[in-house]
Symmetry: C2
Subunit: 390 residues, 2 copies
Amino acid sequence: MRGKMKFGLNIPTRLAFGAGELKNIHNMVMPGRHALVVVSSGRAMKSNGYLDVLLAGLERAGIKSVVFDKAIPNPIRQHVMEGTEMCKENGCDFVIGLGGGSSIDTAKAIAITAAMGGDFWDYVQGGTGGGKPVTKALPIVAIPSTAGTGTEIDPWGVITNEQTKEKIGFGTPLVFPYLAIVDPELMLTVPPKLTAYQGFDAFFHAAEGYISLAHSPISDLYALEAIRLLYKYLPVAVADGNNMWARIKVAWASTLAGMVESTSCCTGEHALEHAMSAFYPELPHGAGLIAISGAYFKTFKNDVMKRYMKMAEKMRQVKSARPSDFLDALEVMKRSCGVDDVRLSDWGVKMDDFDRFVDNAVATGGSMLELDPRFLNRYELIGIYADSYK
Amino acid sequence: MRGKMKFGLNIPTRLAFGAGELKNIHNMVMPGRHALVVVSSGRAMKSNGYLDVLLAGLERAGIKSVVFDKAIPNPIRQHVMEGTEMCKENGCDFVIGLGGGSSIDTAKAIAITAAMGGDFWDYVQGGTGGGKPVTKALPIVAIPSTAGTGTEIDPWGVITNEQTKEKIGFGTPLVFPYLAIVDPELMLTVPPKLTAYQGFDAFFHAAEGYISLAHSPISDLYALEAIRLLYKYLPVAVADGNNMWARIKVAWASTLAGMVESTSCCTGEHALEHAMSAFYPELPHGAGLIAISGAYFKTFKNDVMKRYMKMAEKMRQVKSARPSDFLDALEVMKRSCGVDDVRLSDWGVKMDDFDRFVDNAVATGGSMLELDPRFLNRYELIGIYADSYK
């Protein structure tokens, strides 16, 4: 890796990080005068009052808004198109995503389609996507209520085509949010299991980005810090959701892991998981990652030995002599977060699915598979699913 | 420091880092069609062929250019105004700074004055500056040929008013370069002494930003990595200027330290040095910093003990139990770079100067003095100069 000293860096997003920052939104510069506010179809953002705080802050700043409340976990193409329609009808000139990754990713997809016209799937690269170039997008403000996706500070989104069963990532620097407000107060009410799933999503953004062929000195810096923080604080946040200090550290680690995605890239683990939740939308993304992570990372144990040891050192804070230290630390972390028992079969996954999972991963996530430390063939990919199955 | 978890981050500059990147400039997107190219009045950029490479690359990309070759170390207001004139006369729509910090800072100042009109000093905050708000600036491309200032990726510049003997920093997000091309090949010919002076400038950006009241989790991450890299690689680059690997590491550390300046801020050490080189323009900025650094950092040894130990640990890679470990490591680093013998008297500084130095530092660098871990009174500031004098 000694020669890997040619790289780029560009994260234009303005970050406002801190407990209570959402209440300060009226003092922040917005990128438009009329917002489409995208929130989840669930009740959390409404019953917790976060949506009200946001809308009151916008009003105080003299900014008009209209709410689109249909974003769902594993957001779908149809909702992107409905949101785009509402955006156009109301003459909105920017899009705010408030909630989990699904709200923000839906906001990003709407921002593209509202500016470009046509169908969102026209602009998706890979699978049955039309692959048209994206040359403009409405500006985006991202306000995550979970710590996991990092989408508030990266140029990526993931939308599922519910007709074709494709869960495909899209990406363009145009959907880097203009502003990300990361307010850990919004995360206090996330239940333990979801806190763990989402935190592990962030952990894998960092760990995959660290072993990815796309890694660079700057992504390494972000990744190792995110890994250190999550190993230390995620179990605390899972055990005591009201521990503000742990929530703050986990939120910051998640944003750092998003900066890894903006400077390096996810690898095959994410491609393999997207394929699973494309067929089983109820399977939480983080749970799917946790389920296959042991087998996935074992695969490259001898390919990037020093990087595994470095990750283990950041986690355990002691010198590591073996790449397997990372695999051991990962298992410890799963246990201490209470997610060492994730069973794919609980979500309906069957062994017969592995073939179509691999087909789907290759078709829709090929670029991530190409960034694995070593390129895996079809049988190795099936082997990861098989090793993970229980 | 436990509560310090509310912060912002915004570094919009696109970074292209790597040996040989300048030769690749014709493939990069430029922010305009007609460049004012600012280079030093010295011969280095011309005799080494870097200016030719730049101009040929621009021509190949169909971009017109005109060269302003008057930037001097400790750049002055008069040259900013001459460059602005040339910029306007030729209808340039962006400014490229190629060379040391002086060329890039001159380019930044021209970018402001060409867009805003009037005199550059109208827009300077502090001292006799007019304090007018800056609302626009031409886009800037920064191509450093030295590793030290970090100005390629920060929103700051320093210009001296030669009439009033004020060396004042200016800053606005509008002068974040649009693009920074950091090509360590351009640094291979920097002589050992200047390599050390410039490298220590970067080191102090990181160390000051780390103990500054303005520090944050993201600036800490950048600062500690820059400190680690410079302690390890700066002596190598000083001893063997052709060691490309060391040049790369030092260049990256310098850019990281620039990112510290963009997320935290320099402290009183820089204010005290600017005052010296305002009166003694021949005194290299880095040499001035080195001369006062021992006394400066000793002052806060008991105020931010954990931070001193953390810096020492990054430098020596062993656990630290005493804040003075940092002071010791700093002295070792000076010796290993051959700059432990910098004498202010060699540059003409007299003990009688201390009073006017302090007046100047307070008048022009007050905001940096306010970010010291503990606010120093006039006598303590004079004491730092006195302790440093030989």
